[in-house]
Symmetry: C2
Subunit: 213 residues, 2 copies
């Protein structure tokens, strides 16, 4: 359960036995507290207490609260690998593939915790919103935009992100019913045409599908 | 500037001259602080200070912080009047009419402040999320659902809300570029087909458009 905390977890020489376990316990506690309390109310002291370590050890491993957040709230997958794979398949099914991947991530409790934590943090205060814009969104939106490769790819990727963020808010944060209880397959059906539209459809009717292919 | 605070502002007999102005000043300060600080960090004391009144007067007029929030963060329009009007027109343009209305509200600084404040509050802590679910969302989603009148109308209305919430987050909270700088007309173009799909399209391909029309 304490395993994969993402790309910041590079093997280093000189690391003592037990260090990985401690780092993972801190990361786990940090993910939990950022998701539950939001960025603002989560504290290094509280995270250390939940992990059962001294606060100084949290600072030793991760630095500031901001760097801890960026480190442990990294996407629970590698966007640079996943997005090109999703975007490279048959074009007519691109929205469904991306919807299936996104809903799959949201239905996995550990991934959901990170995604909900990042979105709640972005909503709750400007510093976190800046971090999300600069770091987390950059990796996600950047990977989709590079995969699309069109002039308007960034805007398209951000429209996709807007729908996924809104789905997270409505289903997992506000928990609006019946949306919150719909099975994942039904969500994928509902959202796939939207993502297909944003990725491949015409966004400007004046030009009538200037993108072509 | 301190004028319309919405439906809670009913004329009452026995109100002294200046009372409306004071209430409006408090409501204005509350909207500002809820939107800027979020529900959690906004305080009755801080709101009173911004309005230039004694905190006791805030409690006198509005009661608790929770009741103040619900009162001043009400939708800046009457969903029960606007939604039937939007939904009653030609069916093929229903998504565009709703997108035009939603983007229009978001581009009006005073409406935007309320909408952003409500969404940020919902994201930042569970008590506010419950309030949004129970009160604010009920009026919006309820009005759309009643206007549609189908069995799955609530789910459709919530999917619409999810896209609008996500747009607010991406454009006005996270301020992702280029989405944040796109002109309103371009936003309407991009989002209208999504809302049309959620309101009138097939959400379950197994049944192949069982809704008919």
């Amino acid at each position: 359960m304490l395993a994969t905390v993402g790309s910041s977890e590079k093997p280093r020489t000189g690391r003592r036995p037990g260090e990985n376990t401690t780092r993972a316990a801190i990361a786990d506690a940090a993910q939990h507290q950022f998701a539950e309390l939001g960025y603002d109310r989560a504290t290094i002291r509280g995270i250390a207490a939940e992990a059962g370590v001294d606060p100084a050890l949290v600072v030793h491993f991760f630095g500031s609260k901001q760097r801890l957040f960026v480190s442990v709230m990294a996407p629970p997958f590698q966007p640079e690998e996943e997005m090109p794979r999703i975007l490279a398949g048959p074009r007519a099914e691109i929205g469904r593939r991306l919807a299936t991947f996104a809903v799959g991530q949201l239905e996995d409790p550990r991934s959901r915790r990170v995604i909900v934590g990042v979105i709640r943090a972005a909503a709750s205060e400007p510093e976190a919103a800046r971090m999300v814009r600069d770091l987390v969104a950059e990796r996600m939106v950047g990977a989709i935009a590079r995969g699309l490769g069109t002039d308007d790819a960034r805007l398209r990727a951000e429209l996709v992100a807007s729908q996924i963020i809104g789905l997270v808010m409505a289903r997992y944060v506000i928990r609006a019913e019946p949306l919150a209880s719909r099975p994942p397959a039904a969500l994928i059906e509902a959202v796939a045409p939207t993502l297909q539209h944003y990725l491949t459809g015409s966004l400007t009717p004046a030009e009538h599908r200037s993108r072509g292919g």
